[in-house]
């Protein structure tokens, strides 16, 4: 792995160069509501790099919350359809966290198994992920409990580590990362033999064992009807916030939006916590009650993703915990199952 140095003004210069090259830069930025989210950035002064993590995940850059997939026009008995071909710019995700970079790999598995969703992959192909190692974790972070690390490299092309005296040490992880640094070689300078980087955040929530959780979920007789699901869901209001902020949640709806005799078909994020999500036209609903929906979300993270996509469905970003209006904490369930499954 090659190490490079970004001096104190490195990010400023980098964003200027990217702006000049008409490259889209997405990074942590404070929105009008005062929340840090991931949005288009035009200057380094907009970046909120000290925020532990953005409120929403940056998955929106590859998997927009609302995405037109095609347009149609009615013409008597005929219909004309046109595939939507979005203009996808070269994109740099700058200053996202290692957990979010890892989540993109998991999402990729969903969008590419067997059928390839090019609306996702084209965006991903055109993106360089420059993540920033975490120096602080908050009480909701738990990446180390699910096999990731505050300075993990999975999914990142380049990983930045803050240097105490200013600037960043840049680890070039992938070939794409190497090529990116070469393109911007005046900014990615040779690293000094030794750089004094700021300490990486300490591991959190050590009483969780995801292998044990997985084997408990695998044992349908033990886990499927366990009273834990009722307990967890008793508080849940079914708002689905957890699914929207989650970097690995991939569910969506497909709806038509008509305007007179024409309209568009749109992919919209959806979530398994909503009561209508699995509702059949007949009125039958396989997941009629919140405990069933909670069980699905939990199983999706710790069983379905590993079983079907050989990837982790949870990267421990903690957003679902921070966003929950009734303070439901998935790590409490994980800790409890770790105990039950002993």
């Amino acid at each position: 792995m090659t190490l490079k140095l970004l001096k104190e003004d490195g990010l400023k210069k980098l964003i200027e160069a990217l702006n000049k090259a008409d490259t889209r830069v997405v990074g942590p930025k404070r929105n009008k509501a005062g929340m840090v989210t991931y949005d288009d950035v035009n200057a380094d002064t907009e970046l909120e790099l000290d925020e532990v993590i953005g409120r929403y995940s940056p998955k929106d850059a590859f998997f927009p919350q609302h995405e037109t997939v095609m347009r149609y026009k009615l013409d008597g008995k005929d219909v004309h359809v046109k595939a939507e071909t979005p203009v996808i710019k070269e994109t740099v995700l700058l200053g996202v966290r290692p957990c979010d970079a890892a989540a993109m790999i998991s999402l990729n598995k969903v969008f590419t198994w067997d059928y390839v969703d090019t609306l996702f992959t084209e965006r991903q192909k055109k993106a360089t992920i420059i993540s920033l190692a975490c120096n602080n974790a908050d009480e909701s972070c738990f990446c180390t409990s699910v096999g990731f690390a505050p300075d993990g490299t999975e999914g990142s092309d380049i990983l930045l580590k803050k240097i105490k005296s200013g600037g960043y040490l840049a680890e070039l992880i992938t070939k794409e990362g190497e090529a990116f640094a070469t393109t911007h070689k005046s900014i990615f300078e040779n690293a000094p033999a030794k750089a004094d980087t700021v300490a990486i955040a300490e591991p959190t929530k050590l009483d969780i064992d995801i292998d044990r959780i997985k084997s408990w979920l695998d044992d349908k007789e033990k886990s499927w009807e366990h009273p834990l699901w009722e307990q967890l869901a008793a508080k849940c209001v079914g708002c689905g916030g957890c699914t929207f902020v989650c970097p690995t949640c991939h569910c969506f709806d497909i709806v038509d939006e008509p305007y007179g005799d024409q309209g568009k078909r749109v992919k919209n994020w959806d979530g398994c916590q909503f009561d209508h999500f699995t509702l059949h036209a007949s009125g039958h609903n396989p997941r009629e009650h919140q405990p069933q929906r909670w069980r699905n979300r939990f199983s999706c993270k710790f069983k379905i993703y590993p079983d079907r996509f050989e990837k982790k469905g949870c990267v421990g970003c903690g957003r679902c915990i921070r966003v929950c209006p009734v303070n439901l904490d998935i790590t409490e369930a994980m800790t409890e199952i770790t105990q039950i499954a002993k």
Partner: protein, 277 residues
């Protein structure tokens, strides 16, 4: 850049009113190349769109051995099916597919086949029955047990008559108690009961079951009583779907994707699934 979500356009060439709120569309691709090259295998499904309203999931109800068109049969029961129901001959619909796995015709060759269907559960089996009948000599005895709530609710009435007339098919048609009319000559009783009365042999046989969840549940029990092993009983599952190709995340039963791993499963596979359908 291939966009998975763009449907093919099809013309509704014919409409059959099967039963109250149930119609069959005879559909032909507008594009000549699609018309010539489109292939599917029996058991597969598609996403049918009424433009401006959305998409709906139905099986392809026609035979895979007959080319150039597809048929689908659906009940009007929601926003999109209502919009589709109101379309007429000559109108255009969208189609994406075929998706999903298929009935294993190879495994059925040389076997006696028992088809068990209830209500709107006959369309998925119709594709298979027609395909099998197009290659009749490849199979042993064929028994079809089909029931609906009332006489009116039976679908494919002409086809049922035709199958009943064939000497190489044992056709048993039934309606639920109270659903019979004065001139009804078929059986009166629930499908699982009628199936047990018909008592097809389980020797060198396979059974294929489709219908409402309750009917499937009790028919599987009846087949077990008749000596069918779970691996010789096939059924199709339905769950709400949007994409049809394993991305939108709503049809899963535990870690099984109905759209990709199904919709066709053996009773053995279904028994191993968690109760999530």
């Amino acid at each position: 850049m291939h966009n998975l979500y763009v449907p093919h356009l099809m013309t509704i060439e014919d409409v059959t009113e099967e039963a109250p709120d149930v119609k069959t569309f005879h559909l032909v691709f507008k594009d000549e190349k699609m018309r010539e090259n489109f292939e599917f295998e029996t058991g597969q499904f598609g996403e049918y769109s009424a433009f401006g309203h959305g998409e709906c999931t139905f099986c392809i109800a026609s035979a895979s051995s007959r080319k150039g068109f597809i048929q689908c049969t659906f009940r009007r029961s929601g926003k999109v099916t209502d919009a589709l129901y109101n379309l007429e001959i000559g109108d255009t619909i969208g189609f994406r597919g075929p998706y999903g796995n298929t009935f294993d015709l190879e495994a059925m060759k040389g076997k006696n086949l028992v088809f068990v269907a209830g209500g709107i559960g006959l369309p998925p089996l119709r594709s298979l029955i027609l395909t099998v009948l197009d290659n009749r000599e490849d199979y042993g005895d064929i028994t079809i047990v089909y029931g609906a709530r009332t006489v009116k609710d039976l679908v494919y009435k002409d086809q049922l008559k035709h199958w009943a007339e064939r000497k190489d098919v044992k056709m048993v048609t039934a309606v639920d108690p109270g659903g019979e009319t004065d001139d009804w000559t078929g059986k009166v009783g629930f499908v699982p009961t009628v199936l047990e009365e018909t008592a097809p042999s389980s020797g060198n046989s396979m059974a294929v079951v489709c219908g409402p969840p309750v009917m499937i549940k009790f028919s599987l029990q009846s087949l077990e009583k008749l000596g069918f092993s779970r691996s010789d009983v096939i059924t199709t599952l339905e769950n709400r779907m949007k994409c049809g190709f394993g991305k939108c995340g709503r049809c899963n039963v535990g870690n099984i994707y109905v759209c990709k791993d199904g919709p066709v499963f053996t009773a053995e596979e279904v028994a191993a699934m968690p109760n999530d359908f």
